[in-house]
């Protein structure tokens, strides 16, 4: 389950934010996350932000993958 997609916080109005995925805008309830500001990325699920995405961890995952050895076609 759980279609949740990383979305960019565009603007905030109280408990609700406008978030963007590829330029399409969605409403997201911020009731479950704190210290969110425009420019942050959150995981959007069923109209709520369920987590802030850790940019540091995201980079680390990608670095790890990039550092993996490339096998030649054997």
């Amino acid at each position: 389950m759980c279609l949740s997609v990383p979305a960019l916080v565009v603007s905030i109005d109280g408990q609700m934010a406008d978030v963007s995925v590829g330029g399409a805008l969605f409403k997201a309830g911020l009731h479950m996350v704190e210290n969110v500001k425009a420019g942050d990325y959150i995981l959007l699920h069923a109209g709520f932000a369920i987590q802030k995405i850790s940019d540091e961890e995201a980079h680390e995952t990608l670095s790890l993958l990039n550092e993996m050895k490339n096998y030649e076609n054997e």
């Binding site: 759980c2 949740s4 590829g22 409403k27 009731h31 479950m32 995201a58």
Partner: protein, 359 residues
Amino acid sequence: MKYIEEYRDKGLILKLSDHIKKSVTRNYDFMEVCGGHTSAIHRFGIPSLLPPEISLISGPGCPVCVTATDFIDKAIAYSQRENVTIVTFGDLIRVPGSSSSLEKEKTKGADIRIVFSGLEALNIAKSEPDKTVIFLGIGFETTAPGTAVTVRTAREEGLENFLLLSAHKVMPPVMDAIVKDGIKIDGFICPGHVATITGSHIFNFLPEKYKLGCVIAGFEPTDLLQSVLMLVRQINTKSPDVEIQYSRAVTPDGNLIAQNQLSEVFEPCNANWRGFGNISASGLRLRKEYAAFDAEKRIPVIIQKHRGNPSCICGDILRGLKKPDDCSLFRKACTPENPVGACMVSSEGACNSYFKYHS
């Protein structure tokens, strides 16, 4: 689209595929228990990127598939009452009850509306005060906190015409039941978005009690392949553990605010899982402080006990014991247009995915 496309890089995908192929030393059976994973695995053609030694089994991770028939029957019974509006996520609309479905009832004139969020259901209740709006709460720990917020907001705003019919469930008890049942699995691919809320610690029982390893996986192709590689390594080194692959969203403790919202509004209860029967402490029901929003307490309905189609083996499929091909109804009496069992209804149900993506 940031945090999506980078994890779909073909070069990284093929590199991971290569690493997996070079790491296998025996056969491995991994179960995923998340409809989102079932869907992603098929969408990205993951099986075609894995060596034949690795088998991915789809478990009871689709909240639609495991929603018991009597929940649908209750929702239908409510929809037939005057001035009731049923508000639901799209996933549930085609799930077969014992003799009808929400979709069929809609064609007969029932007021059944599809929303994307519980907050939309609240808006409907606010703008139509003379209707009783019943929101069907399905989903696991990822979705339930949102429903909790919705119910809290309904209370804060003094809404009297908003009710919840909950079929929310939690994952660990059913995973425990699967292992106890003796189904042969070498490791679990754990649901990344459930873990975003709960934290990784809810899966600690797997290595502690059963010496089974698990990896909490994201939903992009590199996430899935990296998770498979991590599981293969755990097995090769005989070191079962709970590992987080999806670290950009999952931490050991999870989202405490969401957890608090959840426990403020819901408490555990026994729940009926299609294919598994009753599993104790596997469901979520409204606490008595929120009884005013509980549809079943405010408007009791009586439904008839039903018998399912005896040839339907959704239960075995949900437990990972059988594959869709093993079912005598598959592709014949049971198709996506005319589903008999829930595994065929949801686009992430094992049978629906299999139907669409395999010849």
